[in-house]
C-alpha cells in the first residue's frame, strides 16, 4: 500500500470534468484507490472509481488530498493519479 499527499492543481477543483477524468483514470488500474482530504478534521474517504464520492469530497483548487493505492500496480497508479491531480 502506498500513500502520497497532493495539492489540487485544477482551477475549478475536483469538479464534474476533472472528477470524471479521475474516475476514468482510476478505472484503468487494478489497485484499489481511495482519496481523502488531509486538510480536513473529519477525513471522508472517497473511492476514486465512484464519481459521486469523488464529487462529495468537495476538493477545491488548493485543497490537500491524500491518495492511497493498494494492489499490484499501486506505484504506477499513485504516480499517474497524483500527476493528474496536481494539474
Amino acid at each position: 500500500m502506498k500513500e502520497r499527499e497532493v495539492v489540487i492543481g485544477h482551477r475549478l477543483g475536483l469538479h464534474a470534468r476533472a472528477a470524471a477524468k479521475l474516475v476514468q483514470l482510476s478505472t484503468s488500474f487494478q489497485s484499489n484507490i481511495v482519496l481523502f482530504r488531509s486538510d480536513s478534521n473529519n477525513p471522508v474517504e472517497a473511492d476514486a472509481r465512484s464519481i459521486l464520492s469523488v464529487l462529495l469530497l468537495s476538493a477545491a483548487f488548493g485543497s490537500k488530498v491524500s491518495v492511497r493505492a493498494d494492489g499490484v500496480d499501486e506505484d504506477q497508479a499513485l504516480e499517474s493519479i497524483c500527476e493528474y491531480l496536481a494539474g
Binding site: A16, A20, I51
Partner: protein, 572 residues
C-alpha cells in the same frame, strides 16, 4: 421508534377521510411505488433494475455520439459524468443491495439511495458542487422512466391502501391509478379548483391540497387525509387511528350495507323529528348525497363552482351548473349560499379569519358578479326546489341592499320573459356576532336562517383556526358560545322562521347534541359526518337533551360542559 403524530394543514379539495401509506409522486411524471416484494421476486427485480441501467447507458451513449458529431468532443464530458454515475458502486451497488436486503422494488430503492445522496450534496459548502445534484436528478429521472416503460406486472395491484403525495399529482396519474388501492390524495401545491381536485371529487377520493409541509413526508409513512377538516395527519397515534377507523366504518357502511344507517328516519328516541341535510362543496357530491339518503342539501357552497377554472364562468354555464345540481338532487331542496369569498383572495380555505370584504360585503361591492349569480340561480330554479342564502350579513342595511338587487334581477328576468320560481325563499347566514345579536330584527325581511358556527365561534372567541398558536382555544363548549346560541334561539323562536345549523358544530356528535338541546331541530353536515350524526340523533332523547342544555347553560368552564355532554351522549 415510532414517530409522534403530526398534523399538516392544507386546503380541502375533496371531502371524506382516508387512511393509507404515503405513495410519493417523486416526479410529476412518475409515481414511485413502495412495494414489498416476495422473496422469489427479488432476483427478477434486480434484473429489472439492471435492465433500466443498461437501457439508460445506451441512451446516453447515443446522445454522446450525437453531441460529439454536432459540437465536438468538448461538451460530451457532461454525459461522461452521467455515464459514470451509472457504473458508480456508491449508487448502483447500493440500490441493488437495497432491493435484495429490504426486498423492495427498484423505484423505491432508487429513491431512498438518491435521497441520501441529495442530502449529502445539500450539506456541501460549495455552490457549484451543490448544483451538481441536478446531474444526479437527471439520471434518476432517466432510470425511473426506463423502469416505467418496463413495469412489473404486480404493480398493477398495490398491496396496501395508498395515499398519493407529491408536489403536484397530475389528474391522469390519479385517474390511471383509480382502480387500484389509492384511497386519498395530498399535494404540496394546488387548489381545490385544479383538475386533479375535480378528478378526486368525481372519484370520491378524499383530498387535501396546498399543504407545503407535505414535503417532509416520505413514501411508506402512515397518513390520514381528512378532507372534512382540511388536514393530513402523519404517523397517527393508535387512538387517532381508531377514531378514524370508526368514522370510516360509519362512512362505508351506508354505501355497502344498503345505506341503512344514513337512510333511517331522522327521529330521536322520544320520536322528535330532526331535519338533517348535507353540506356540499361541489356539484359532483350531490348525487352521492342523495344516494345515501339525504333529504335536503342544507348548504351548497357556490364559490368553488363559481371560480372553477380560475376565472368566472358566464351566465349560461352557471345556469347549467345549478340546473345540474337541482336535477341531481331529484326533488330534495337545495340551499345555495351565494359566493362567500373576496375575488382577489388567494386562500380558499375559508378558515382564515377575515375581518374585511367577505360574503355579502363582496357581493354588494361587485354587483355585476352578484347579479350574474342571482340571475343564474333564479333561471335554474325551475328545475327543482331551491333556497338562496346570503352569507356574512352584519346589518339590516346589508339585507335591504341585497333585497333591492334581488328585485332588480327578477325585473330583468321578467322583461326578458325568462322563467323562474318567484317563491324562492331568501335566507340569512348568522355567522357574525352582529347578526347573532340582531337576527330578530332581520326576521321580517327573510324566509329562513342558517347558523354558521365555524365563523361565529371564531369571531366570538377571537380565535383564528388557521393559527396553530391559538387553535386550542377554539371551543364550541365555551359558555360564551352556548349563551350566544341560546340567545339566537330565544330571539328567533317567536318569529317562527326556520333555522338550520350548518357549521362543523353540527358534525360532531357531542356538540350536535348540544344544538338539539338548545332547541335547534334542523342540522346540515358534510357527507362524511352524515351517518354518525344520524346515529346520534336516533340514540338520544330530545327531552333529556333539553334538560341537559338548561344545566350546561349554568356551567362555568368549557371542559366541564364537554364532560357533562359526553357523559350524556355516550352513556353506557
Amino acid at each position: 421508534m415510532k414517530d409522534s403524530e403530526r398534523i399538516i394543514h392544507g386546503v380541502v379539495a375533496s371531502v371524506g377521510a382516508a387512511i393509507g401509506r404515503a405513495l410519493r409522486s417523486f416526479d410529476p411524471l412518475f409515481v414511485s411505488f413502495n412495494l414489498k416484494l416476495r422473496p422469489e421476486q427479488v432476483r427478477k427485480e434486480v434484473d429489472r433494475f439492471r435492465g433500466s441501467v443498461e437501457k439508460s447507458r445506451e441512451q446516453l451513449k447515443r446522445m454522446q455520439s450525437q453531441l460529439k458529431r454536432k459540437s465536438g468532443p468538448e461538451s460530451s464530458f457532461l454525459i461522461d459524468a452521467h455515464l459514470l454515475v451509472l457504473q458508480d458502486r456508491l449508487f448502483v451497488d447500493r440500490i441493488i443491495d437495497k432491493i435484495e436486503n429490504e426486498q423492495i422494488n427498484s423505484e423505491w430503492a432508487i429513491q431512498q439511495v438518491s435521497e441520501d445522496l441529495f442530502q449529502a450534496y445539500d450539506r456541501l459548502n460549495d455552490d457549484y458542487l451543490r448544483e451538481r445534484r441536478g446531474d444526479l436528478e437527471d439520471i434518476v429521472r432517466r432510470l425511473l422512466h426506463n423502469l416505467h416503460s418496463n413495469p412489473l406486472p404486480s404493480f398493477k395491484k398495490l398491496p396496501y391502501d395508498a395515499i398519493l403525495v407529491g408536489k403536484v399529482v397530475p389528474p391522469s396519474t390519479l385517474f390511471e391509478l383509480r382502480s387500484q388501492r389509492v384511497v386519498g390524495l395530498a399535494t404540496e401545491t394546488g387548489s381545490p379548483l385544479s383538475h386533479t381536485a375535480i378528478m378526486a371529487r368525481s372519484l370520491e377520493i378524499p383530498a387535501v391540497v396546498g399543504a407545503p409541509e407535505l414535503a417532509e413526508v416520505s413514501s411508506g409513512d402512515l397518513l390520514i387525509v381528512d378532507g372534512d377538516r382540511a388536514l393530513v395527519i402523519v404517523s397517527p397515534s393508535d387512538a387517532t387511528l381508531d377514531e378514524y377507523k370508526n368514522r370510516r366504518r360509519d362512512e362505508k357502511a351506508p354505501k355497502k350495507k344498503g345505506r341503512s344507517a344514513a337512510s333511517a328516519p331522522s327521529v330521536t328516541e322520544d320520536r322528535v323529528r330532526i331535519s338533517l341535510g348535507a353540506n356540499i362543496n361541489f356539484s359532483e357530491e350531490v348525487r352521492p348525497a342523495i344516494t345515501i339518503g339525504c333529504e335536503s342539501i342544507g348548504l351548497y357552497r357556490t364559490e368553488f363552482d363559481f371560480f372553477r377554472e380560475g376565472k368566472q364562468p358566464d351566465e349560461e354555464s352557471l345556469v347549467a351548473d345549478y340546473s345540474l345540481v337541482l336535477k341531481s338532487a331529484k326533488g330534495a331542496p337545495v340551499t345555495f349560499r351565494t359566493i362567500d369569498v373576496g375575488i382577489d383572495q388567494k386562500s380558499w380555505d375559508g378558515v382564515n379569519m377575515n375581518l374585511g370584504v367577505r360574503g355579502l360585503r363582496f357581493c354588494l361591492e361587485n354587483t355585476d358578479v352578484f347579479k350574474k349569480q342571482l340571475r343564474s340561480l333564479y333561471r335554474a330554479s325551475v328545475f327543482g326546489p331551491m333556497r338562496i342564502l346570503l352569507p356574512f350579513v352584519s346589518s339590516v342595511d346589508d339585507l335591504d341592499s341585497a333585497h333591492e338587487i334581488i328585485a332588480e334581477v327578477r325585473q330583468e328576468l321578467d322583461l326578458k320573459r325568462l322563467g323562474y320560481d318567484p317563491g324562492v325563499p331568501i335566507g340569512v347566514m348568522i355567522e357574525t356576532p352582529a347578526a347573532a345579536q340582531t337576527c330578530d330584527l332581520m326576521a321580517s325581511r327573510v324566509d329562513f336562517f342558517c347558523l354558521g358556527t365555524n365563523d361565529l365561534i371564531q369571531y366570538y372567541l377571537v380565535v383564528d383556526r388557521s393559527d396553530r398558536s391559538v387553535v386550542h382555544l377554539y371551543n364550541p363548549f365555551h359558555p360564551a358560545i352556548l349563551r350566544c346560541l341560546h340567545q339566537v334561539y330565544t330571539l328567533l323562536h317567536p318569529t317562527g322562521k326556520p333555522v338550520t345549523v350548518c357549521g362543523e358544530m353540527a358534525a360532531d356528535p357531542p356538540s350536535a347534541a348540544v344544538l338539539l338541546g338548545l332547541g335547534f331541530t334542523s342540522l346540515s353536515v358534510s357527507l362524511a359526518a352524515y351517518p354518525r350524526i344520524k346515529r346520534m340523533i336516533r340514540s338520544v332523547s330530545y327531552a333529556q337533551l333539553r334538560d341537559l342544555a338548561a344545566q350546561i347553560l349554568k356551567m362555568q368552564k368549557p371542559r366541564d360542559v364537554e364532560e357533562k355532554v359526553r357523559a350524556t351522549v355516550y352513556r353506557p
